[in-house]
């Protein structure tokens, strides 16, 4: 396939149609133990310039989801469903076809910048390489562009950085370099997979602001993958909560925080230590562990760990149900606000959210 055959999303995505559309995307891995259903039927869409937060614990499938879209999966992976990028179904694309999209249309910032940068290559070369390859720039133009990129991501003394190696920079600085590389070819979709987990809080705030600023300046879409609801609250337009490979709640960010429906989302929120609580406040925990994705539990995936589960939850899987706001969907039989939930919540409150029957699960 010639590079020119690839749809230039810049020109196509002006009419408000989604830049990215996932329809019932499934990613399964063949292993000795059986089929691992890492992503199991995810449907969502993202417009140009929008940002999506994908939230979940380790093993929820959030990282596999973003890698499925990028086509960065080992050969044991089997994908079903469809991934439409700029109107084109890319789910069956080979690595060779995807290569035209990587960098130029979609790129990724990883969690650990030291592992993702080439330790033996100068920063300048790592930024100019994709520019020469994808955009056909000559050396001088590429170097000038690299300098501008380093300025865009607010790296002090950018001229000096071009000739430095990754180990000479601090963690926050390296993550800025990663972002500069990811932005180099002007992608329309940026994945950030736990981009700040390895960084200090002060630097985390700076990096999240930087990603948001670049998103606005470049009218780029961003998918922010994280386990921390605090990180996505101020930096996304919509949030998808994943559990056991499935979407369990999906809503515009403000709607979600104002009206969490899924007990899982609520529990994640409660487990974050809050500055407004006095010290030694007992934290709410989610007992147990994420489900085995080879033999997922019958019924709702979350039921075995859910303090609100009733018999129906253990036999029948809840479908994604819309609320009054059709953009807000959740998968739960007894959501927050339902009479069954409220009754159980009152009981739990009396025990300080530490019911006897759950102490054994942890």
């Amino acid at each position: 396939m010639n590079k020119n055959d690839i749809i230039q999303s810049d020109r196509r995505i002006e009419s408000g149609e989604p830049l990215l559309e996932l329809i019932d995307l499934k990613t399964h891995f063949k292993t000795e133990r059986g089929l691992v259903r890492a992503v199991d039927g995810v449907t969502l869409s993202l417009k140009r310039g929008e940002s999506l937060g994908v939230v979940g614990e380790s093993g929820s499938g959030k990282t596999v989801l973003s890698r499925s879209i990028m086509g960065l999966l080992p050969s044991t992976a089997v994908k079903h469903g469809s991934v439409k990028f700029a109107g084109q179904d890319i789910v069956g694309f080979s690595a060779k076809q995807m290569r035209h999209l990587w960098g130029a249309e979609m790129s990724m910032v990883f969690q650990n910048p030291l592992n993702s940068l080439n330790p033996l290559m100068k920063i300048g070369k790592q930024i100019t390489e994709p520019l020469k390859l994808h955009l056909g720039m000559d050396k001088a133009t590429a170097t000038a562009t690299a300098l501008q990129l380093l300025r865009d991501v607010r790296i002090p003394e950018p001229e000096r950085r071009l000739n430095q190696l990754p180990h000479e920079l601090s963690g926050g600085m390296r993550q800025r370099v990663m972002i500069a590389i990811a932005l180099a070819c002007g992608p329309t979709l940026l994945f950030a997979d736990e981009p700040t987990t390895a960084l200090d809080v002060t630097v985390q705030a700076q990096i999240l602001d930087l990603i948001g600023e670049q998103r606005r300046d470049r009218n780029m879409s961003v998918i922010l993958v994280t386990h921390d609801l605090g990180v996505v609250a101020g930096h996304t337009d919509q949030i998808a909560v994943m559990y056991g490979g499935k979407l369990v709640e999906h809503a515009p960010t403000k709607t979600l925080f104002a009206n969490m429906k899924m007990p899982y989302t609520k529990s994640l929120m409660r487990s974050i230590p809050k500055l407004s609580d006095p010290s030694h406040t007992r934290l709410a925990t989610i007992p147990g562990r994420p489900p085995d994705l080879v033999n997922p539990p019958l019924g709702c995936n979350f039921a075995p760990r859910c303090m609100y589960a009733l018999p129906k939850c253990h036999v029948e899987e809840p479908p994604l149900t819309p609320t009054a706001d059709p953009k807000h969907v959740y998968a739960c039989w007894y959501p927050v606000g339902s009479p069954e939930f409220e009754k159980r919540d009152a009981e739990l409150q009396a025990t300080g959210y530490m019911p006897e029957d759950f102490s054994a699960v942890s």
Binding site: V201, G234, S279, H280
Partner: protein, 334 residues
């Protein structure tokens, strides 16, 4: 911050007392990394002291210096009345049975080739505590108290457990010798929020059950507030502020503490996410700034801050700050 002074040291039943701790590392031919530059603090029996700061502020180095890995360049570390820095190496080894440490990465701090039960049992065998039956019984009890099934621990290696479970196992191994003090170096920063909450609750329970004293090192102020009685804020090898946990957060006096607090991502989309962000990163500890070490990044810095190092001084209620221009917080806000 960049402060020195000992105004904040207390009387009472001290488990640990540190004075003028200095840790420096030689790099290259003639430069020195000044990781910790003269800090003093004490930890009372049964207390949890939180130490917070950014990477490179010296908080982990301080924790390791207490363990004598490596021994500090100068200063005094008195643990249960004995000066650790003057002990023979065998006496230090013995003291380490009473000061244990838990590290950030739980998986890599366990031996990957041994069953986790063996890893928990090993300290007892090295120190020949009790009979074989007594040792086995104790290990089973401790594993159960951290929520790990002893039978599974006997037949499983670290990689067969999740990160949260491995951290529980590390806690069990630290507990098995019945220590007085446990130094926790970023014990939850590699864990998911849901698992982080489990480990924090567990540490609180065990502290009560085994009568422990904790030093809790972390960069996340919300986590530190949750677990600590008292918090020390560090910047570039110096102490900035020391206060009781609730007081520090109710009226942070040091500009740097304010910056740290403002950087925490609030799980609330309506919150103002643009306030109080700090620019830049800490300077190199090889050539720290003159005067107050925080002055190049401080919004309140004046001429005196570049020349004179602030001393820790009392702000009332056991609250101490090393700053020439501490932030005044109206009392009503509390």
């Amino acid at each position: 911050m960049a402060g020195t002074g000992k105004a904040h040291l207390r009387d009472g039943d001290k488990v640990l007392s540190i004075e003028d701790l200095v840790v420096e590392f030689k790099v290259g031919r003639d430069s020195t990394v000044k990781a910790v530059s003269g800090i003093s603090f004490d930890v009372l029996r049964g207390e949890t002291l939180g130490i917070v700061g950014e990477s490179g502020c010296g908080k982990s180095t301080t924790g390791r210096a207490i363990m004598q890995i490596p021994p500090p360049t100068s200063g005094s570390i008195i643990f249960e009345g004995a000066e650790l820095t003057e002990m023979t190496s065998s006496a230090v080894r013995e003291a380490r049975t009473r000061v244990q440490m838990i590290f950030q990465d739980p998986v890599s701090s366990l031996n990957p080739r041994r069953s986790v039960r063996d890893s928990v049992l090993e300290p007892l065998e090295i120190w020949k505590r009790g009979t074989k039956e007594e040792r086995n019984k104790l290990v089973d009890e401790i594993l159960e108290s951290v929520g790990i099934d002893p039978a599974r621990a006997a037949e499983s290696k670290p990689h067969q457990f999740s990160g949260g479970q491995c951290q529980r196992i590390s806690v069990a191994r630290a507990l098995v010798l019945d220590p007085t003090l446990i130094i926790c170096d970023e014990p939850v920063s590699a864990l998911d929020v849901s698992v982080q909450a489990q480990v924090l609750n567990l540490l609180e329970d065990l502290k009560e059950k085994f009568g422990l004293t904790l030093v809790f090192i972390a960069h996340d102020l919300a986590v530190v507030k949750n677990i600590s009685d008292r918090v020390a804020v560090m910047y570039l090898g110096k102490l900035c502020e020391v206060a009781s946990s609730d007081d520090l957060y109710a009226r942070p006096a040091h500009p740097y503490t304010n910056v740290l607090l403002d950087s925490i991502p609030e799980p609330d989309p309506e919150a103002d996410h643009s306030v109080g962000k700090i620019v830049g990163e800490p300077p190199s500890p090889i050539s720290p700034p003159s005067g107050c070490r925080f002055h190049p990044r401080c919004a309140y810095a004046t001429d005196i801050c570049t020349r004179q190092e602030p001393q820790l001084r009392p702000m009332g209620d056991g609250h101490f700050v090393a700053c020439h221009h501490p932030v005044e917080t109206p009392v009503e806000i509390r």
